[in-house]
């Protein structure tokens, strides 16, 4: 056992140890740097929106002030009282659940086949599933609206739900396919061996084992529906307004920054809450894996 004499020890710290410490410190500083940059990159836009939503109309915030001089909840009151935001909120949050439910129901059998069976043409089917994401949105929206008009689905709630389902299906199918793929055949065989019929297999083996993927898919489909603009704009307006379309209208000719800020925050907050739910309760590797598998 070496006897360490403190003063001698500090003098005798070898160069390579000092250099190793320096490298470690560098990495820590780099991480801190990235975090600070990110905080500014993400935080500043959000902060600005919050500030703008609280500008007192009697004290307009403009150059040369770096910050608004007076804060007031006035814009929030105005937007909620005098605009259609409540109607838009209602529409957004009632279309979404239906779209998610439909996506789920339609995806389940398809994902089962794509995930567990070697059906000929699987590659093509997998590509078709991704098409709604790949195809440019406004083109699909514009001409789908013609199809809907012919089917008397234009300007209807049901039409909106169908359109949002179309956009949610790719995510739901991909995530559920991956989930189905990972169920070990042994587990299914064991269930059959112990007497499980089809219904029991679905209820007690398949559904529970795809639950984590299901949750991820539902969140994707839900946020996709809430954010969906192109289809809603063409098929729903003017009968239906959702949060994205109302925000768009606030950014057009009558660009009142304060109103737009309020709507933006209203639109953003539930999503951020959902982000924390996802990060906390889902493995985010799962998210990236399912996205990566695209």
């Amino acid at each position: 056992m070496a006897i360490t004499n403190p003063s001698v020890a500090t003098l005798a710290v070898p160069l390579h140890v000092l250099q190793a410490r320096r490298i470690r410190r560098f990495y820590i500083m780099l991480t801190v740097f990235f975090v600070v940059v990110q905080l500014v990159w993400i935080g500043t836009p959000i902060l600005m929106a919050v500030l703008w939503s609280l500008v007192n109309p009697d004290y307009p915030w403009s150059f040369p002030n770096l910050f608004p001089t007076h804060l007031a909840p006035a814009p929030w009151i105005y937007v909620f009282k005098y605009t259609n935001i409540i109607r838009a909120l209602k529409t957004s949050y009632s279309v979404a659940p239906f779209a998610v439910a439909l996506s789920f129901l339609f995806s389940l059998p398809t994902a089962y086949v794509l995930g567990r069976k070697n059906i000929p043409g699987k590659k093509i089917f997998n590509l078709i599933v991704l098409l709604p994401i790949i195809m440019p949105g406004m083109v699909v929206a514009l001409f789908l609206s013609r199809v809907f008009t012919a089917l008397h689905l234009s300007q209807t709630f049901f039409g909106l739900v169908l359109a949002h389902t179309l956009m949610g299906l790719p995510y739901m199918i991909r995530v559920l396919t991956t989930s189905f793929q990972t169920i070990p055949q042994d587990v299914i065989d064991a269930a059959e061996n112990l007497g499980a019929g089809t219904f029991v297999k679905i209820r007690d083996v398949f559904l529970p084992m795809v639950r984590p993927g299901l949750l991820a898919g539902m969140i994707f489909a839900f946020t996709t529906s809430i954010e969906e603009f192109n289809l809603t704009f063409v098929i729903g307006t003017p009968t239906f307004e959702t949060i994205p379309t109302i925000l768009y209208s606030f950014m057009g000719y009558n660009f009142i920054r304060t109103n737009a800020a309020v709507v933006a925050l209203v639109m953003m907050t539930p999503n951020i809450i959902m982000l924390f739910i996802v990060e906390r309760f889902l493995k985010s590797d799962y998210l990236s894996a399912s996205l990566g598998k695209m």
């Binding site: 070898p14 160069l15 390579h16 250099q19 190793a20």
Partner: protein, 351 residues
Amino acid sequence: MSNLRIVNLTKRFDDVVAVDKINLDVAEAEFVTLLGPSGCGKTTTLRTVAGFYQSDEGEIWFGDRLMNNVPPNKRLASMCFQSYALFPHMNVLENISFGLRMRKVPLAEQKKRISEVVSMVDLEGLEKRKPGQLSGGQQQRVALARAIVTQPDILLFDEPLSNLDAKLRVQVRVEIREMQKRLGITTIYVTHDQDEALAISDRIVVMNQGCIEQIGDPHSIYLHPQTSFVAGFIGLANIFEGRVVSKDNNRLVVDAPFGRISILDEDSLAATGGIIRFSWRPEDMVVSSPDAPNAIQATILHSIFMGRATDLFIDAAGQRMRAVTGNATKYEDGSAIVLGIDEKSIRILRQ
């Protein structure tokens, strides 16, 4: 080519000491194996030599150059990985030439070395294939070729054969050793397989929980284990403790749990009255008679006929032992047997 000196190497991961003040000198062109169970620190030591880990204390010398601050890509210590770690997107030729390209070896020289190495490891005809199109054995040879073509100062092996089937393992380990002898590169080889270590090493370093238990050539390690760990880890061993009753020159008489036994203490490790720990190999026991020296009366618990030998699990005065006899006698469970052990074949252990 250079020799390797590891001085007082210590490496910690959080509060676990993976490698604890290791000292090892490897001579030029020597083949040294680090042997031990998982977690003993052998792989950590190897990776520190390669430069993937920074030592917390201690030094690594390649010849007369201190390597502690040299990054892994500047050390000439080519490594053969357990998983082969071939570049999946490059073919065999590109994999093998990678190290030469990185070190900017002139093209003519590259060509020469590559064709030599390809014939040495018998990969002719496979140059354009990608790793995914090769068998496990072929992949292993590419990994080997890739390492030796760079003519490194030190050659490192991280359990290179564990992913091969048993028959191939025995064949390839001999090929690796012969190649190393021919090229004369200083080599460190990590394995947990003691047969492998005994078969091909110049010296074996037995490691346990971050420390070196014993260093020696295969004969010494097997025939003269110095600690109970080494005795138990290499081959089979019957390990017991007993008090030294008398000592006459170097002959000890020891009171063991199964009876009296005499041990030849050539290195004078024990004194009368002291407690010693000792061991012997099952295969050193022979069928004996009750009046022979070091006769042990025992009951056969279980016998396993293995063809060229019989493995006997016996009980002597309540102590479990194992013996391996070379004859083809059929033994009955529960029958009595007398076995003897030569006093020269018993090893005194240090701890």
